[in-house]
Symmetry: none
Subunit: 188 residues, 4 copies
DNA sequence: AATGAATGAGTTTTCATTCAT
DNA sequence: TATGAATGAAAACTCATTCAT
């Protein structure tokens, strides 16, 4: 019978946090995030028990988005390369469309606030991409390299590419292509 | 900004900061750093005007070390690949020998405390490596890709490689080799 | 101040408050009290306008109980000493039976939340005991001592006795007897 | 070489706390105490690690004062009664002279912030008085009553007496006398 | 009336930086 | 110059109370 806890408000806080993190970093006061979300500072803690909890959930939310964005219109029938390039293009588009999310995720990823449980959960979200990568790797020159290393390499190249695209959005498409091709040479 | 008396003390602070950053992150209190350096908290500020200044200088110091380490025993007469591999091996050894420095540098690199002036200065330190990379790039498939992007890619692959080596030091050598070869496929 | 609907719920809150005060002190959050009472935190404020109001009413309620317990089976025909000892025994039994109430009352008594109006009302509840005490005093060595002081002394000795009984319930009866006898020597 | 930590300042904080506790209770903000002491809020924590620590030390300090005040001009050669009355008079004078200290101590005594270690240390400070009391008890009607109970009774009567003296300072002397005599009847 | 979300003032403690010694 | 006490502005979180439902 009381006001129900609004999922919309939760999302608003998460979005506010994303924006604030980009401009102020992870040390941004919770009060700023609350203000940006248009709520009272105390209310933030109705939705997230601690600041750390907020960050962990945001990390997951963004990873989730990155994972689902990646699979948009996935060409099930295409060959490996086309499938991988498809994902890559999706990522690129997302990064250009939502540079703030990309940047916030980058910050969260290197933060110590994110627990290893959260990180593991985040990786699980990416598992379908991991499988694709596995298939690519197993046929190429990195077939003997540990998968974890290959994933790390892909992530680092993807990050560098997205950063480049965000920095120079005019040639985003070209950078995107350059990035995958470079990675493809590495892997396949 | 008169040079403070004891350059040795300055170094001690920098080293202490490195160690403390690894365990506590960049939000570590200056007092902890001072204690680790064996001096009073107030004294730290005779050597570095602000905490931010300390971090910027540490960044530079570590970049400097990475740059000079890279060029150790540089084989002037060897071919491009051997020259590049040489640098890479030097980096790998350094990362394994001084994982703390590597980790601290990684943290500083993503921090907002580091000003763009500092970053630019940091890149300048790497210029000789940049030139080598430039020569490698200009002959390979990335010849049309902007140099800044190529540098970013190299850095990201190098970081991923060093992280892997630190995490699994038993196979450090193999990871090191896998890393360069992957990068080489990308570039040359 | 319209009487709230359910008097039962009011009692439940009061009882919950008693229990919570014992374990958490007077700074216990109202929410904890509400939860202990099995109601929503907001609901508490339909029954008591403020936390302070709740505490004042609880004080009165407990004083009331102490007063009525004291007069249980009062031996109208007995002599003064027997009458007084009767009351004292009743108190002792109550303290051992309801140590929580005793402890909560002790806390409330020293609290600044309890207004002087409430304290006066509390004393009024004790008036019949006061009268008995008055008769005892007027015949003994304290006949020149102000009544308020005598009451204070009785209360303090009673409190000390009840605390002792609660702490060492095995010899409760003995402590109870020791307490009155001591008091009686003081007064009569 | 830096400003030495001033013992005077420590005392000033303790005194400020005493005054503030009397008017605002134990929930008084530390900032108020600091302001009353004429120092910055943060400075308080140079002298006392936490608010709780401050309270525990204050408790001890006041107990200490009560103990040493009690023994002032102690008549070593006098008989038990005169010795005891002497202590009592000293307490009474102290209570009238420093009603704030008396009140603050009363508040602290019932507070849950005071650890049992602190309480034990406090009791130790009173040990010489305890010994005297022991000798008095062992010869009188309470010789079979546990010492802890006797101490509690003495304390409670002393508290009631001091309160009365503070409330009605004009007849302080009389109240003081009435108090001891009452207690003496109880004990001896 | 009952619920529990919303509010925002208030609290303790931390910490970069300053400054007396 | 070195020291560490002094400063005071945060910052995260709490909680009595209000209010929409």
């Amino acid at each position: 019978m009381p006001r129900p806890r609004s999922d919309d408000k939760r999302k608003r806080i998460l979005n506010a946090a994303t924006r604030v993190i980009v401009t102020q970093g992870l040390s941004a006061p919770t009060m700023g995030i609350a203000k940006e979300a248009g709520i009272a500072n105390g209310s933030l803690f109705t939705y997230f028990e601690t600041k750390s909890e907020l960050f962990n959930q945001l990390y997951l939310e963004l990873k989730q988005e990155m994972a689902s964005v990646a699979m948009k219109d996935f060409p099930t029938e295409a060959d490996l390369q086309e499938q991988f390039f498809h994902i890559w293009r999706n990522w690129g588009n997302w990064a250009v469309r939502s540079p703030e999310k990309r940047k916030a995720l980058a910050q969260l990823t290197v933060s110590e606030e994110i627990t290893s449980e959260t990180r593991i959960a985040g990786h699980r979200l990416m598992s379908s991409i991991g499988e694709l990568l596995e298939r690519i790797r197993s046929a190429g020159p990195m077939r003997k390299v540990p998968m974890s290393f290959v994933i790390a390499l892909m992530n680092s190249v993807a990050d560098a590419t997205m950063d480049q695209m965000i920095q120079d959005p005019k040639h985003a498409k070209t950078h995107c292509k350059n990035g995958v091709e470079a990675l493809w040479r590495m892997l396949a």
